[in-house]
Amino acid sequence: MKRILSAIIILTILLTAAVFGGCSKEDLSDKQLTVYCTKDGKTEYEQLFKYYNNYCTANADFGRQYQISFVEFENEEELYKKMTTETMAGGGPDIFLTAQYLPFEKMIGAGAFMDIDELLERENCKIDFSKLNEKVMDSGVWNGKRYILPIVYSPRVMITDRAYLNGLNMTIPEERRFPYKNGYTVTYSDLKYMLKYAKSSQLFSYNSMQLMYNLLYDNMDMKEKKVYFDTDKFKENLETIKKLYKYEVKIEENTEDQKDFFGDYYSLFAYAQYSFENFMRNNLCGYTKNNFEYYSEKIEKSKVLYKGISRERNDNRGYIDLGIAVNKNTKQGKKICEFIKFSLSNLGQSHMTSKYNSFAFGDSFPVNKETFEKRLRNAKEFEFVGGDVFKNHNSELFNTYEKIVRSVDDCSLYNGSSYYTTSIVGDLIEQYMSDKLPQNKFIRQLSSATKFYLEE
């Protein structure tokens, strides 16, 4: 009798726990939208969400429950584990940000994201996509469905100084020289010749690893699951980037060279990816002054803006700086729609790309056409005070910049490192760059791993 009684007690406890465990029904009316981030990463998005949260508080129709809250994690690894496990179990954050370390291309295939067009239609939320940059917005469409919604984007632009280039006295044959022509697209092949004839100390301010990653993105089609690594052109470009990488390593290792690290080095090219206002205001001037120390006095006339570095001469590929994806498990469709509406609105986009904003994507370009034009107007109206550079907003340089930004015809999901380049082929790249893997083997293994990754 005693045994039966104890068995009944154990069973009762188990049953009670099981029954009450399933009883609580989540009340979503008071629940805020969630975004997962690391403690460090939070600062990147804080500005954006803080502004939106204030907007919600001020808007009588919304209120606190429409706000976005952060779920913080110590580091990327913990964030990734938690986010993926929860999403697999039917939970996870409501919104994913493309700047997060996630295999977006795989998650799309796995049906982890909602089709945003479908969501907007279901929630009866009207967004006029013709008022947005169609080419950039199309970058988020996979198999006819809008899984990624680009919010801001960036072009690939570089700046150089023709006076400085002349001063370097490189022995590049005339036909191989870059034309000092604004808007010229620099390809990987151009780099090859530059490296061939330049001295090792005449370097580029271009991170070779980032170039390598972009070369991989340029030679694969994530949407179609195809790779184009086994071509002569790819092999040639690979060798060029490796050479560039070697130069960088040499500079880091050679103390004699290091003294010039902030002087003559980094002179052929510099990044020039700034918002229109910041281009005019100070950033580009400040940056180029630092990098073109000798030539700061004659700055405007001798500067040249290039597009690239691209695979083909007619490419003008940018990248999505910030985009969002919606978790398919979310039950907060209406609130998400409001957030999307705000993010793409003139108000939201103006805030994100504001010149006074410390938001991490403040140098990016809005996808909203009206905001884009407004930003451009503001830049042109900007009066430069206390200097003689860039005061002419009608300068060829600025016009070229505008043209390059306007003509971005496609955007890659990533710029630089991503889940694919780090977790999938990171070790292979490292081995190849450090000469532990010959090129043919590297390409074979790279193709195989990428193919597996895309097709799995």
Partner: protein, 283 residues
Amino acid sequence: MTRKRRECIAAALFLIPSFAGILVFYIIPYIICFVQSLFIGDSFVGFSNYISLFSNYTFTLALKNTVIFTVTAIPLLMVVSFLIALFLNSFKRLNSFFRSAFLIPVVIPVASLIVVWQVFFEDYGAINGFITSLGLPKIEFFDSWFSMLMIIFIYVWKHCGFCVILFTAGLANIPEAYIESARLDGAGPLKIVTRIKIPNITPTIFFVFLMAMIYSFKIYREVFALFGDYPNEHVYFLQNFVNNNYYNLNYPRLSAASIILSVFIVAVLFVFFMLERKRNYLE
């Protein structure tokens, strides 16, 4: 209520928590996994995940490699360990030393073993050093079909010791009288092995087969340590496929592949138990 009946009820009640555990942690997740394999996102797609799996290059490759490995490595392991056990059984003085020696690979951590095998198999490793010294071309063990041979070799080498112990224990249990009388009847060594020893250790053979099967599914550890998440196409196994799909969050495909893998294992075990039952029945 009789005492026996009361005891039965008590036993059943005590067993229920255990069954509940199996239900909650095994059966229900399995059912959820199956249900998930019928969906992509929120939309029901029926068996299309299964159909698409079989038209997926990586899955068919993984399946092919797993089958090749299983049908090659398991019989090889069993034959090699049986022959070693036979040898040790004939030299009883050496038996204990060799049994301990053969067990060493089983107890050494995989990571340490891999470091050793890398030294042997890499492009400029010991084996290639020997091969090139003979004037033969170098073998790329990490980037050719030799990868499969290398993995089979490592598998046999690592698990051989344990199987040898099981076989020697089985062989030691055969009554000496059977062998003596067979010898008196004029049976040679081969006949003694095939007609006396093997039939008498059939339960051991089944057990070794079962263990070899379990070990074969664990070979992923060695493959991962040697080649990483994405090995070359010759040693890309089902476990790689399942594991990578887990990390890449492809749950519908992962669920479908897991169900197929589990069905495959259950089918093999079913055949195995049927054979064992048939043998018991014949006995």
